[in-house]
């Protein structure tokens, strides 16, 4: 339980630092990421959580940046994204999800909570919905459709949490 909390916190803390320069290597493709996300989501209770694919898409991308920083650039400012680092990120998440059945549920809730906090912070200025979705997509390393889906899901997730 303590270990899970620690892992969840360390994953969420990845969103607190943002590299200014991201280098996308030649061997990245959207199709690969889709299959990676499904691989993690299918490991345990992931398929019942909505929008778990979005949370995983975001986590894999942020974790890939962290792995790049640890293994290559040694700098929070610049990261290189390639398929090798992304594979490593996915494997870490799969491992965690297999070892702990409740991990995906926990990280799903923590991620949505972090998203809500970010929305509250950004909405202090008068942003349009379009711009908010753009900023969410930027910060959480997800596509715009995923960002919109995540924002729309916060309401449902909140009502599910209050029911349980």
């Amino acid at each position: 339980m303590q270990n899970r909390d620690h892992t969840t916190q360390s994953l969420i803390s990845l969103y607190h630092s943002t590299p200014r320069m991201i280098l996308y290597d030649k061997d990245l493709s959207i199709d690969d990421l889709d299959s990676d996300v499904h691989a993690v989501a299918n490991t345990s209770s992931g398929t019942q959580l909505n929008p778990m694919e979005v949370v995983l898409e975001s986590l894999i991308n942020k974790l890939t940046e962290k792995i790049s920083e640890e293994n290559l650039t040694r700098s929070q400012d610049t990261v290189l994204l390639n398929s090798r680092f992304r594979r490593m990120a996915m494997e870490r998440l799969v491992e965690q999800a297999r070892a702990d059945n409740q991990f995906l549920t926990e990280i799903h809730q923590a991620w949505l909570h972090e998203l809500e906090e970010y929305v509250l912070h950004e909405m202090k200025g008068s942003l349009t919905a379009d711009e908010l979705v753009f900023r969410v997509a930027m910060r959480y390393r997800i596509s715009t459709s995923s960002a919109a889906r995540a924002l729309k899901s916060t309401r449902r997730a909140r009502s599910q949490t209050s029911e349980t």
Partner: protein, 186 residues
């Protein structure tokens, strides 16, 4: 006559150093521009479809917290040899230094994309928020009309996918704000 030839030849040297897309003015504009995360993949896909080669993409964005930070970023930008000459010249102008750049980034949250294939700069993209119009615009410049056309086609498909996606976002955001206001008041 000699002078004109000399001037023309001098000018051609400069024009020759400016990437092809500036001469052709080939640009794809989007307003509003919504999707920052899939641009690298779309550029890579376009280049792969047209030239059968894989390219790298760099995305640059940074909130600048101080004038010194802005100066440091400008220097980094100007000294990058892959950066097109005209952009380096624009960035190194005195009026575009320090505080001005800091203010600009605060209000427009710009995102800069650079597509490269070895030493070739094949795409430059600038995405900026227009605070007065409250809309984000994206402009993408290419050194090849074929790659530009391919990019446009893929972007059109991606934009189609977004149709209807934004419905309900405003309501969800209002809901988040309302719940926080309610819980905060308790």
């Amino acid at each position: 006559m000699f002078r004109i030839d000399y001037r023309l030849s001098y000018l051609s040297v400069w024009i020759g150093r400016i990437p092809e897309y500036v001469k052709r003015g080939y640009v794809a504009n989007y307003k509003p521009f919504l999707d920052p995360s899939t641009v690298p993949q779309i550029v890579q896909q376009s280049v792969r479809n047209v030239e059968g080669k894989a390219c790298s993409v760099t995305r640059f964005s940074q909130k600048l917290d101080s004038e010194a930070d802005a100066e440091r970023v400008t220097k980094m930008f100007v000294s990058d040899p892959r950066m097109p000459v005209f952009l380096r010249m624009m960035a190194s102008r005195k009026t575009n230094r320090g505080r001005r750049i800091m203010e600009m980034t605060e209000s427009s949250h710009p995102v800069f994309y650079l597509g490269t294939l070895n030493d070739r700069c094949l795409m430059v993209g600038i995405v900026m928020y227009e605070p007065y119009e409250k809309v984000r615009t994206g402009s993408f410049y290419f050194d090849s009309t074929y790659i530009g056309d391919e990019f446009k086609q893929i972007m059109t498909k991606e934009t189609e996918k977004l149709r209807g996606v934004m419905d309900g976002v405003s309501v969800a955001v209002e809901d988040i704000l309302r719940v926080r206001e309610h819980t905060g008041a308790e």
